[in-house]
């Protein structure tokens, strides 16, 4: 656990200053066809300072966590702020206060032995190898990461926080009926250290069996028809829709860059069924996948309501953009490594569930698709989005038909969301992987099943 060596140095702050000590850990084990191709541990730790001066920031970081290093980092950040201020001369006012207080660590810091990850991966791999010998390829990847931060600020909340995640990714490849190969992958896991999330490899076996059965259906699958289609998106796709297609466009720094949200505040951007929130730590009475209580600018975290009943109601801000837009900062300024400055990031972004049953949503489509798994997504500041779809089914006359092969869907978020006419009554979260925006960042995303219209690529 990080020792507090930074609070003592608060007396050295000359301008608005954030001083942060941080440790990031990453653990990786990968078995490719039974071969241990990755077996690594990575620790990044250090201290950084950011100084605000008349509308510009100076930042500096160093790995060494000592009194001498902290002083050097503070001096360098101050020097950088002065250099920028002297060359840019923005003359902006001081940042408004967000109050003062503190948040303490609410969980124990752990360090799991590498042997634990390897033995678990071997157990999972042995099951797949013995039960499904006909696979063309199999990969078992264990990934565990954590972020521990100690923050002291000249004006705001001081905090000590911890964010651990652990996942096991299963990648399966099979021969398809046309002689090529088809693949599927599934992450298992979530918030917590590995020993908190996983018990025994056996707990994953039913999930692996389901993944294999889906892969076999995909191997016999057909290519979808290209064009503008009625679809039901599984909650995993709704989550990535919330994050990629809408979430990024309402990050206030991208709004200032000219995103589509700049001209739509207060306007109807989605069906009245759609409400979307970036949750801080609790959603609908339950903990979110990656709870954030205080951000890296010392702002207490609270929920940011982005779309309410189809109306665009807000942006996600840091303290500076909140001042610009006359909004309240809600704790969205997050940094990945000790050497990274806080950027406006999502936390746990979700479309809220509706009242429909999934089976009714499928039954409501005569000719369309049920899209169940995605392997990535990207979106434009115009709201045009693209998701890779790696598993899905035809819907014919209200019933599921043949599985489909890999495809891509696209649309323009604020147009596509207006076609939403049914939402399922369940909210499903995911939090694997990283969001990319200058720095990587763990985020949660979620939603219900969504019935809507999208463009589907195809041969």
């Amino acid at each position: 656990m990080l020792k507090d060596r930074i609070t003592y140095h608060k007396g050295l702050f000359r301008e608005h200053t954030e001083l942060r000590a941080q440790v990031n850990t990453r653990r990786a084990v990968t078995l490719l066809g039974g071969n241990l191709v990755a077996n690594s541990r990575s620790d990044d730790s250090g201290v950084s300072a950011r100084v605000y001066k008349n509308g510009v920031y100076g930042f500096a970081s160093a790995a060494e966590y000592s009194d001498e290093s902290i002083k050097a980092v503070l001096d360098a950040a101050q020097e950088n702020a002065l250099f920028m201020d002297s060359r840019v001369c923005k003359n902006k006012p001081a940042l408004p206060s967000v109050g003062t207080g503190s948040f303490s660590l609410i969980a124990d810091v752990k360090d799991i032995e590498q042997k634990t990850y390897i033995e678990f991966a071997k157990g999972v791999d042995a099951y797949i190898a013995s039960k499904y010998p006909n696979l063309a390829s199999r990969t078992v990847a264990v990934r565990s990461d954590s972020m521990e931060k100690l923050l002291t600020v000249s004006d705001g909340y001081n905090s000590h926080s911890l964010l651990p995640r652990s996942f096991v990714y299963i990648f399966l490849t099979a021969q398809a009926k046309d002689g090529g190969t088809v693949e599927l992958y599934q992450p298992f896991g979530g918030y917590g250290y590995f020993s908190d999330v996983f018990t025994t490899p056996e707990a994953l076996f039913s999930g692996i069996d389901f993944l294999y059965s889906e892969l076999m259906k995909k191997a016999e699958g057909v290519y979808n028809d290209a064009g503008y289609k009625d679809v039901v998106m599984h909650p995993d796709l709704a989550g990535i829709l919330a994050h990629e297609a809408v979430g990024h466009t309402v990050e206030a720094d991208l709004v200032l860059g000219g995103s589509v949200a700049a001209h739509n505040l207060g306007k109807q951007v989605a069906s009245e069924l759609v409400t979307m929130v970036d949750f801080a730590h609790t959603a609908l009475g339950q903990p979110v996948p990656l709870p954030i209580y205080c951000d890296d600018e010392g702002t207490p975290a609270e929920d940011a309501v982005l779309i309410k009943d189809g109306i665009l109601t807000g942006y996600m801000n840091n303290r500076e953009t909140a001042q610009h837009f006359g909004m309240k900062p809600q704790g969205n300024a997050r940094a990945y490594l000790f050497s990274d400055e806080p950027l406006i990031r999502m936390r746990n972004t979700a479309i809220l569930p509706g009242k429909d049953k999934l089976e009714d949503m499928i039954a409501a489509i005569d000719d369309g698709y049920y899209l169940t798994m995605t392997n990535n997504g990207q979106a434009d500041t115009t709201g045009e989005f693209m998701f890779g779809v790696c598993m899905g089914y035809e819907i014919k006359n209200g019933k599921l038909g043949r599985a489909i092969r890999d495809t891509t869907i696209s649309g323009v978020a604020f147009e596509m969301l207006k076609t939403v006419d049914m939402l399922s009554d369940s909210l499903i979260w995911s939090c694997s992987g990283f969001c990319g925006k200058k720095q990587p960042m763990p985020v949660g995303m979620g939603g219900p099943a969504v019935k809507c219209k999208v463009n589907m690529g195809g041969r």
Binding site: N35, S42, Y65, F83, G258, T382, D406
Partner: protein
Amino acid sequence: MKSNREIAIYVLDALKKAGADHAQCVVSTGKTDEFNVDGGQFSLMRSLFNSAVVMKALKNGKKGVITANRLDSEAIDKAVQDCIAAAESSVADEAEAIAEKVKNDEFTTGVLTPDKDKFFDRVQEYMDDVRRDYPKIVIEQFISKYTYTEQVFMNTNGVEFKNTSGKYDISSMFSAHEGEVASSFNGYGAEFTSLESKLIDLGLQRTLFAESEKQLYTKPVNGKFVGKLLITPACLAEIISIAFENFISDGTIIDGTSPWISMLGKAVAPETLTISLCPLDPAVACGERFTSDGYRSENMDVIKNGVLNSFLLSNYGSRKTGYPRALNLSSNLFVKPGDTSLKQLIASVDRGILINRFSGGQPGTNGDFSGVAKNSFLIENGEITDAISETMINGNLSDLFKQLIGISSETVCDGVTVLPWMLFDGVTITGK
């Protein structure tokens, strides 16, 4: 403070004493100074005092790898213990090894003393140039930095390389705006070692700014057709890198699922195509001088006159499969230019699109790709016509290489790659 070499010697000695049969490590230190622009305005100056050690131990044929960024004795001693523990918990694999002894060497690349004031002036000039020459362009984000690095590689076979390097690089994200109308965003990056030129003149930036201004008003392609795809240098590196990752890198060669697994020495493209990886070329800013496996980097042809010349295997991948290892592990893609001008290439297209950015799902091992053509234009009857949106392209990467029908004589250098425009046939293009 110990030198990187002294730290590397200490690490190897500690790993051996802790039971490693073989070991290697890379120790690096340096500094990055960075200017940031957000929403068209200067926002931040960042200084990073960088340090890192990557160590690998082999014990009884079992591997452990540790990465850490603290170089003090306490941190390194813990990393050594963790590395040995990871190796002891690992799975024995005869393919694991470290590089054999060769002649040791030291390298110096790039500019070792940055000019902070001149660099800032160049960045300020860049912002002014964009505002003046491309008034509809908004620089959403611009990151400009100088990075100085000292790196030492050593292993217990006696291999020792040292590289000292310094380079500038820029990356931008931008879009065009007119009233409430905005183009899709686009991005560009370049690396360089001199401040003698204007930053706006690096690589393809002026072309992309001008094209973004034309992309304010777009149309979806009407219906679906099979047509031609003209890939610009801004997009080509990603397409080739995806293909190489899927077809000739460790993962799919080791498990045998690559569609090119039996294509070594055989034609995978027309004989006009030669693709090389050239980290030592003078056009590259501070290219790789030794690989992470500890081998001296050499330029290499991956595809030569259409024939697959080499897989891109690490030392482990090579020993695992029996195929030769790659002569470098860089991303410095060079494509040999053709003898047709870009203008002639465009004139030869009856119906197709010019694509500047591909936004797509990760293609499967079989190479099937599907995605949105971003920042792109329709080409009809030999002329570029409308800017397009909501238009998807589909095909197979392996087939795409066979469907190459033209390479431009012009190339663009961004300090990392040197690439032409390439024209392919037989791609499914789907609009609304």
